[in-house]
Symmetry: C2
Subunit: 490 residues, 2 copies
């Protein structure tokens, strides 16, 4: 679905931020810092309101470093279920598992299925250890939460993470209790063990996940309607780390890697920003404002996780490679501070399921170690596919998120709406007392500007970031023009 | 919607059981009893696995009787939120509240709205104190549970209990923070205070509640499609107890009355059976078997709450008055033991929302004091309105119920499927090893028998109970015949 426009090689820019941060080895211990710091004794001072960090010696979340001094393990916030799931087979066992997998009945995966294998294998969905069996599926569908067998507590799990198979595949599996999972390129990438096959009631799944069954939901059309009438759950073993070889794999940091990076930077707060669109100055205002608020709250080193979604997106969203290039310009132009920002890719596919999906977006970031989550207007929303209205009430996402079972430990930071303030020619928080001064620039409007070659108002987006988009839309028009005249949409 | 067939007066039969139980004043203290017992010091011995009863003096759940001896308050199981909600205005305040209500903007209620006023006012939906405001509505829709503000714990709440109003009514309310609720007969029956008006997204409500948006869902067609585009929530005050004056009000025991009755009978376990259909011997087998199992578990006096649903049902369900007469025959014929059975009406309307609704059915019975809940095949299910299949997977109801947040304290008793055993000419638990011996007699089939005057196989239902149904279907055919020939449906 996503367009793969080849852009001039700019991935070197993309590496700017993270590389820069990684090579900084300053040992300053000043409390107010402008640079990331690496110390040989990375004692993390946590002041999160949401979770009492155990600083006692000998607690389960601490161990000793080589000097015998107390050493606090990476975590501003515990992963769901207490431990990060990692389902990638250790290298030493790889060869034998590959042999085993080859002898098993096979299940062919779609591109989106592979994205889910990736997501599950790295623990974004912790404590989930594979595609959902029916009891997990039902809990997800009805309660948006899973009950832990160990202690009866609830963790959030709002989207069914399931694998569909058709009748023929089911028949081929027969009585086997394990299957091999085969990527679209023919590679057997994983084993699913102790499988359970159950009915895939698509109508019910769609209705309960999206709150509508209207035709035209992107994920449904791409991944559910064409899928089989059975779901297969089980425990996943991934034969080697999932890679995409698209020049962006170095941005695909796993939750474990992100936690390590937050520790290395001695973050005392991590605030995650989920996005699937280019960053404009309204987004930046909000991220910078959040940082300011966290500093005012007493945090010394809040780190922003700028976390674009990297899996399936709908056809008219800006593709990942373009977005990544745009994001790197935003950092290069200094709109966001590279010293306190980590850019990484969140490998999940997009559902456009509004209040249901935003919980997934937040929950996955808990597992990646973020203890603050920014939520704005209509998160994971889109227009209704058949009616002229938003599919979801724009306020429901933040309301649902703030009440969701299993997300109590996460600090939710509701978004103040930013818009273009024509009186000051910059993006600013919307002030209802002078509403007429503000211009809301929608994605559609932005696209229309870019397509027409017209610039958006000054201060809407940093110039180099804007250029990336213009270039992208030009390339798109060049591709489209043989088929259709370049009509400007409003 | 429900047919109001006037039957020969048989309500005297209906009073048999409960009256009989109430007038028994035996003071026997034998542990194994066959008769209900009333003692002057009703100390309840609770052995429920699901909840530790506080027997200590001075605990919040105990008080002293007039003799100063410890007196344990009624409850085998705590109401959700810890206290049973009772929203009926005390008689002393009634006159002034009625005066106040008359001066308020008015909201006209439908028959189903009044059923909900009834349900809420008596505490079936405890801790809910009125029609849902948006935060409660969203939690219900997304999580099937409400978080208690007091302590953060979750109580089950799977159905949105909401009141819809149209644009005109909304306009009429203006800035008033309270409204009067007016029954279809013109009586102002309640005040809704500190109101909140929010959007009624019918499509989303239907999709998330039923898991389908297919046309033909009975509750949707009766109560949602014709309703307004706004929901109004607030705190309810009911001006006097809701009565229907249909000769069945004495069966409409409130949760408080039921708890008192369980105490009076010194029940040490109460198992609730929700139904909306006539009782056949398969149901009876299962209820009697449940009692046997509870006795084997060590309970000394398990009481059955036979609890037919009394609110809205779909047009082809047997109406309440006929069902109540049929139930009374089942008790008179000794198929169920009147000594250990309480028959009462559950005033809720029926949603036919399967796994979502069965949680409501169970949760409401917690509030009524039942600590065991029987759940069978496809609870609250029906055929798909537009496809030739069950709307819900017949096993999902019991699975969802057993995992539902807020129902942990309730003992779920899954139903073994009963069918007509042709080798023994009686209803028996289905034995898959000799499946061909068993005959499944569906509601449709039963209706066909009754309509044709043919008897079902011996032992399917007690003869006097069956006669009630035959009489009902005959009256129905007599009514129908002018319009259409009496065709036998299969």
């Amino acid at each position: 679905m996503s367009l793969s426009i080849k852009l001039p090689a700019t991935t070197s820019h993309l590496n700017y931020l993270n590389h820069h941060a990684k090579t900084n080895t300053s040992t300053s211990t000043s409390n107010i810092r402008t640079k990331p710091i690496y110390t040989s004794n990375p004692l993390i001072i946590t002041t999160s309101r949401s979770r009492k960090m155990s600083l006692e010696h000998g607690s389960t979340s601490s161990s000793s470093n080589s000097y015998g001094a107390p050493f606090i393990k990476s975590s501003l916030i515990e992963p769901d279920g207490g431990a990060l799931v990692d389902l990638v087979v250790p290298e030493s066992q790889r060869a034998s598992k590959i042999l085993e997998a080859e002898a098993l009945p096979k299940v062919k995966l779609t591109k989106i299925d592979v994205e889910w294998v990736h997501v599950i294998s790295e623990g974004w969905a912790s404590p989930l250890r594979g595609f959902m069996r029916e009891d997990e599926y039902l809990q997800s569908l009805h309660f948006n939460a899973l009950r832990l067998k160990e202690n009866g507590s609830l963790v959030n799990m709002s989207l069914p993470i399931v694998l569909a198979i058709d009748d023929e595949t089911k028949e081929g599996i027969g009585n086997s209790s394990n299957v091999g999972l085969v990527a679209p390129n023919g590679d057997c990438i994983a084993i699913l063990r102790s499988i359970e096959i159950y009915k895939h009631n698509k109508e019910e799944r769609i209705a309960r996940t999206w709150g509508t069954t209207a035709a035209g939901l992107p994920y449904v059309e791409e991944s559910i309607t064409p899928a089989g009438n059975w779901l297969i759950g089980g425990d996943l073993e991934v034969l080697k780390p999932i890679k995409y070889n698209d020049g962006l794999d170095n941005y695909r940091l796993s939750p474990k890697q992100l936690r390590e990076e937050f520790d290395r930077r001695e973050a005392d707060a991590v605030f995650a920003f989920q996005l699937r669109n280019p960053v404009h100055n309204g987004h930046a205002l909000l991220m910078n404002d959040t940082r300011k608020r966290l500093l005012e709250m007493g945090y010394k080193n809040p780190i922003l996780l700028l976390h674009p979604l990297g899996g399936f997106t709908k056809a008219d969203d800006v593709p990942l490679n373009v977005r990544m290039e745009q994001h790197s310009k935003v950092l290069e132009d200094g709109v966001l501070d590279p010293e306190t920002t980590i850019v990484a890719i969140f490998p999940s596919p997009m559902h456009y399921a509004g209040p249901t999906e935003v919980q997934w977006h937040a929950k996955a970031r808990i597992n990646a170690g973020a203890n603050f989550y920014i939520v704005g207007r209509d998160p994971a929303g889109m227009g209704h596919p058949t009616e002229k209205r938003d599919l979801y009430d724009p306020d429901h996402g933040k309301k649902v998120l703030s009440m969701a079972p299993g997300l109590e430990k996460l600090n939710i930071l509701p978004f103040r709406v930013a818009a273009y303030d024509t009186s000051e020619n910059k993006m600013a928080f919307f002030d209802p007392s002078r509403a007429k001064d503000f211009l809301f620039i929608s994605g559609t409007k932005m696209r229309a500007y870019a397509k027409s070659g017209e610039n958006p108002p000054d201060g809407f987006m940093c110039p180099n970031g804007w250029k990336v988009l213009v270039k992208y839309y030009e390339s798109l028009q060049a591709e489209e023009s043989p088929q259709q005249p370049a009509v400007l949409s409003a």
